[in-house]
Amino acid sequence: MTHSPQTVEAGEMAHDEGQQHPIKLYFVVWGLLFVLSAASYWVDYAQLQGLLRWSLILIFMTLKAGLIIAVFMHMAWERLALIYAILLPPLAVIGLLAILIIESDYTSETRVIEFGQGAAAIAAE
């Protein structure tokens, strides 16, 4: 390395010696994952409904996933080339999700028109 130590970014240094990070950080993340799981369990236990329920579930889910990927899977310290290669492709799934939600509304509507609301009662018997 020709550059002086202070120009080496912390991430690169950590990488050179393998993924070595303060053990305290792992304990903090571990604790946060417990708290977030308990919070999402509470959402169900408290019988929250509607928009509040869905948004809380999604927020806790995203935070948990982010913590696991960033710290436990060391993504926060990887090269940007790898981070983008891994994280960008799954975003395409949101497109698939959007298309299928639109399609499912149409399918559901068609079923109600074709078979009527009574289809539900017949199937339930």
Binding site: M1, T2, H3, T7, E9, E12, D16, E17, G18, Q19, Q20, H21, I23, Y26, F27, V29, W30, L33, F34, S37, S40, Y41, V43, D44, Y45, W54, I57, L58, M61, K64, A65, I68, I69, V71, F72, M73, E78, R79, L80, A81, L82, Y84, A85, I86, P89, P90, V93, L96, L97, L100, E103, S104, D105, S108, R111, Q117, A119, A120, A123, A124
Partner: protein
């Protein structure tokens, strides 16, 4: 400062977006300083992400298209303990067990890089034990639902697609956990024997003191936990 560096050193030193462009634009390996083993594990996990995503999206689609009510997961997965009806209790315990196993795995990776051989092996075995406990609880959950009449083509509480979605999604995840437990034991055994401390190459280690196999194993294990985060949110809580 970066512009003063020449050639190879320049690409190695670059971080951030200029480094990203340099990595992808170079006529060499893209993931510089990322070992093949780690890159391949990430590519496996990326493909697995798409498989799980397809299952979950298909399940949400099925759930949206039924004119029959979707069974209430909160009630379906409730247990009667000591006279009280606790909603989702088994799923909550399974979630905490899996998170704990992720914690012990992270500790194992940390110990591996400090070359604490026995602590690493012990923590990996603890992770495997928690994973096995998770699979055991899943087997209990499956047999309970099967005895209540849940089948891939129907169930007593409503939409038929519930059974197919449940067995497909949790079954595929459980298979991943089981494979993880087996591999944890295999890697832990090698660590315990001191294979990675010897100057001996294998498909897991480049020789003396190369413990990266533990981190790669960790990537897989954390991914299994990560998938459960999405299943927990979309299948059990939604």
């Amino acid at each position: 400062m970066e512009s003063k560096l020449q050639g190879q050193e320049q690409t190695l030193a670059q971080q951030g977006h200029s480094g990203f462009a340099a990595d992808w634009g170079s006529d060499q390996r893209v993931f510089k300083k990322v070992s093949w083993g780690k890159a391949m594990m990430w590519i496996l996990l990326l493909s697995d992400t798409f498989i799980f995503a397809c299952f979950l999206v298909a399940y949400l689609n099925a759930r949206n298209t039924t004119t029959v009510d979707w069974p209430n997961a909160s009630e379906v997965f409730a247990l009667h303990i000591g006279g009280a009806n606790l909603p989702l209790i088994l799923i909550a315990i399974m979630t905490f067990v899996l998170i704990s196993s992720s914690g012990t795995m992270a500790m194992a990776v940390n110990c591996a890089y400090r070359k604490a051989r026995k602590a690493t092996a012990a923590l990996m075995l603890a992770t495997a034990a928690l994973g096995a406990a998770f699979v055991g609880m899943q087997a209990f959950e499956w047999s309970k639902l099967i005895s209540e009449g849940v089948r891939p083509w129907g169930n007593p509480w409503g939409a038929e697609q519930f059974g197919a979605s449940f067995f497909m999604i949790t079954g595929f995840h459980g298979t991943h956990v089981t494979i993880g437990v087996i591999f944890l034991i295999i890697v832990a055994r090698r660590v315990w024997r001191g294979d990675f401390d010897r100057d001996q190459r294998s498909w897991m280690s480049a020789g003396n003191g190369d413990y990266e196999a533990v981190e790669i194993m960790g990537l897989y294990w954390h991914f299994v936990d990560l998938v459960w985060v999405f299943i927990f949110a979309f299948f059990y809580l939604w």
